[in-house]
Amino acid sequence: MKVNISPDVEKRLAEIRADAAPRSPTVRVLAAYANHADCNLAALGFAARVDFDKLLEGTPYQVQFGQSPFAFSRGIAFERMVSARDYAETLNLLRTTMGFKIEDARTQDLRAKYQSQRLSMGLRANETREIIRQILLGRPTSYNLVGGAVLEANIGGISARFEADALAARFGGPIHAGEVKSFPVVDGRADPDKLSAALDQVSIYILLMRRLVDELGGDPDLVSRIALLITPTNVGLKPTMSQKDVGTRVARSERLLASVPDVTDIARSVPSSLTFNVVADQRADPGRRADELHKIADSIGTSYTPTCLSTCGNAFFCRERAFRSGSPCLTGPQSSRLLPGISSLNRAAALSGGAPPALNEAPVAPLLARAGRLYDAATKNSRFKSSSQKVAV
């Protein structure tokens, strides 16, 4: 896949990134991006491939998104079990759950095949392409199950490669995408958020596979909307296969990929002096690093909501900005919904004490004043400390 970024855009992006830890768009990064697609700082970081999880290391704002090594090794152990002996367990599940007739299943483990080779993702992408081509041509030697298939995508001008755990194809039938996850399905139930994240991931693979099939001249509908998920069942590591129609998630993924900002546009739109070099410099004074990031944030804008705390490495930083300005977004979108026209929590508190409202505060002011009055009346006879009468305006 060729991507067309001009050399000077590439150079500008490298300048912006400077020595900050880099990060290519993976499925996880893309999913996190979906949570703050309207934040300019997030868009900039995404385009310049800056790893925000590491950017503020060494400052009070550093985050700890690290995964437990036990989680990691559990995942590995489960994947190994599922792919052992030429995917025996997986094939068994495909047979019992999906009705695949697998007497002479042909399997291919691309991870094992290209394990230690340099540029293995690119080689796997080429081979995945060829494998799909063979499937489309209906070759009897085509594969029924491919592990570690790699699909390419153009993400806002950057080429990115995504790795799907499983690609399953019945001879003459639809092609399914699947993921192996180590969270369990217990009594028919899975953690709804983990399940959702896994299905969103598979839906990206389905989308990319459809595009690939289309490119190769095939019918994209050959790629099934039914996502496959292999997880442990109940308490141990015995695998089970679940399936789910993810048609609307695929549509969402399409929208997500389309909304990723074009890196050329980003590079050209930010001030020419903007760079993360000081921010990322671990030898520099943390206060200065923060100030530099404040300058960047001031110039291009941010869009903090509390959900950023679980997906973006700058969240503590942005939260403090919201705190310092008293912005209602600090307490979350549900509460800012109740404060339209109110510029700060300070104003909200003042209005609740009966402060006279400005014109644009007029709809909300009586509600805040009433709430404040009722609270004060109910607590005046108790041993509360209720200092709400005097609030900073």
């Binding site: 509390p306 805040l368 109910a378």
Partner: protein, 487 residues
């Protein structure tokens, strides 16, 4: 999030500390609860890596499994906890009292245990452990100790009872504290007990920074990535040294490094949990708590009797059980909301703001008002209230006096705005009974949609109809411990 929440969040932000949202506490908080602090291994949802349990801050029992992925080691640790837990949990059931229920005389335990945990995730973990332990085989080659299976059943009971609105057998401190204090934090941030607690008694000028520091460390049961990174080499060394031996003689001396690792983590949560619990006990108990505690004791008694008797429960509900549970949950929630609002003036405020309640002073009383009902003239007393707030209620709306929510209702018959932005509201009692308590002129009153009167009770047929029975019967999976996670 409602208007009052956002008002108090704003005030909390300005004042730099939490603001109390209730005048009472709406849960019974006993003197010697069973405090449980649990830690799991990252991404091993059914594992117990370490735990502290006890009935007072100084009564801190502590166990670690070593490597909880090993079934024998995991069960050894769980057994220590189970032995302690079962004794304390079951003891209250020996002391019974009689009570009347729809004409029958039944018995229930005079008291019940209370389990306190830091957060909702701990309750979920109790449920998972219960799920794992309750169905273990107690015979055959891999027989599990009976204590452990009984423990599992108790845990399953706790996990399902925790869903009942207003229940007091399992207290998650984040929910208890969160329901009593408003802070300038988002709902996500309030899930951290440490961050929430930092707002309630901050030592610095603004709680924001203290909360930020507190958020850094995990409260459990899920460890932080960093914690587990520190743990991993300790577990590896431990496994190497014991070379596959799981006997207590060999294992116990090797556990020290792991114990030290967890003692710090568990200890922090332990102290925090007790501080939060004890702080909440200082508030007076709301009047309706007693009634709900009666229901808790009945549920506890039924569970104990079942467990000691037949014992085994299905892993999933039948459609009938699910339908009944749905209605019970709905009723419990509605009753809880009504009771809390009528018990506690601060809890009534959101309903006043939403137009579901009105408050004011009685300016006129007509005890002898009469109207035509069918063919006779009947007495229907009128109450006229002057309220400082506007009233948007339609005529005909049914309300109850907040001091008598299980009594007869009043109907709104007239609403007039007065010159100061308030309203004059006329209410008509819907009965002529002279024994119904009525307000006096000059009294401050509150009328709301909340009623705690007898609830309509819809029965369901005992047998499952063909519509709800699958064509091909699904084999009910009675879960068994299957393949090893590790050995």
């Amino acid at each position: 999030m409602k208007q009052l929440d956002v008002t108090l969040a704003a005030r909390s932000f300005v004042e730099g500390r939490a603001i109390r949202t209730t005048l009472f506490r709406h849960r019974r908080l006993g003197d010697e609860p069973l405090m449980l602090v649990l830690w799991q291994l990252g991404a091993e949802p059914f594992s117990l890596a370490a735990a502290s349990f006890g009935r007072s801050p100084r009564d801190q029992n502590f166990v670690v499994a070593g490597d909880p992925r090993n079934r024998d080691l995991a069960f050894a640790a769980l057994l220590k906890m189970a032995t302690w837990f079962n004794g304390h949990f079951e003891a209250p059931s020996a002391d019974r009292e009689e009570f009347e229920h729809w004409g029958q005389i039944l018995t229930r335990s005079r008291s019940a245990p209370q389990i306190v945990v830091a957060n909702g995730s701990t309750i979920e973990m109790l449920g998972r452990l219960g799920r794992r332990l309750a169905y273990l085989r107690t015979d055959g080659p891999k027989a599990a100790p009976l204590e452990l299976v009984r423990f599992g059943r108790h845990l399953l009971f706790l996990s399902s009872h925790a869903r009942m609105p207003g229940q007091q057998i399992v207290i998650a401190l984040t929910e208890l504290v969160g329901s009593n204090w408003a802070t300038g934090q988002s709902p996500e941030e309030r899930l951290s007990l440490a961050a929430l607690n930092a707002y309630i008694s901050p030592s610095k000028s603004h709680a924001f920074y203290e909360a930020m520091k507190s958020e850094r460390y995990a409260i459990g049961p899920v460890p932080s990535g960093e914690d587990d990174e520190n743990l991993e080499p300790l577990v590896e060394a431990f496994n190497q040294r014991r070379s596959g031996d799981v006997s207590a003689k060999v294992v116990a001396p090797l556990l020290k490094p792991i114990e030290d690792h967890y003692r710090r983590l568990v200890g922090r949560t332990w102290r925090l949990a007790w501080d939060c619990y004890e702080r909440e006990t200082k508030w007076p108990e709301a009047p309706s708590v007693g009634r709900r505690w009666d229901l808790d004791r009945e549920a506890y008694t039924q569970h104990i009797d079942w467990t000691m008797g037949i014992g085994r429960r299905r892993t999933r509900q039948t459609p009938r059980q699910a339908a009944i549970l749905l209605r019970r949950l709905e009723e419990a929630k509605a009753t809880l909301e009504a009771e809390e609002a009528c018990d506690d003036a601060l809890r009534m405020i959101p309903y006043l703001l939403d137009g579901k309640a009105i408050q004011g002073r009685v300016i006129q009383l007509d005890l002898n008002n009469r109207e035509l009902a069918n063919t006779r003239m009947v007495r229907r007393p009128l109450v006229v209230i002057s309220s400082p707030d506007p009233c948007l209620m339609p005529c005909g709306k049914e309300l109850w006096w907040s001091v008598n929510p299980d009594g007869k209702s009043y109907e709104v018959t007239q609403v007039r705005a007065d010159e100061d932005g308030g309203s004059i509201v006329t209410l008509k009692l819907t009965t002529s009974s002279k024994s119904t308590p009525m307000p006096r002129v000059g009294q401050e009153v509150c009328f709301s949609i909340h009623t705690t009167g007898t609830v309509r009770f819809f029965k369901l047929p005992p047998t499952e109809p063909w519509t709800h029975r699958p064509e091909a019967p699904v084999a009910e999976p009675v879960a068994l411990e299957d393949s090893e996670i590790r050995s």
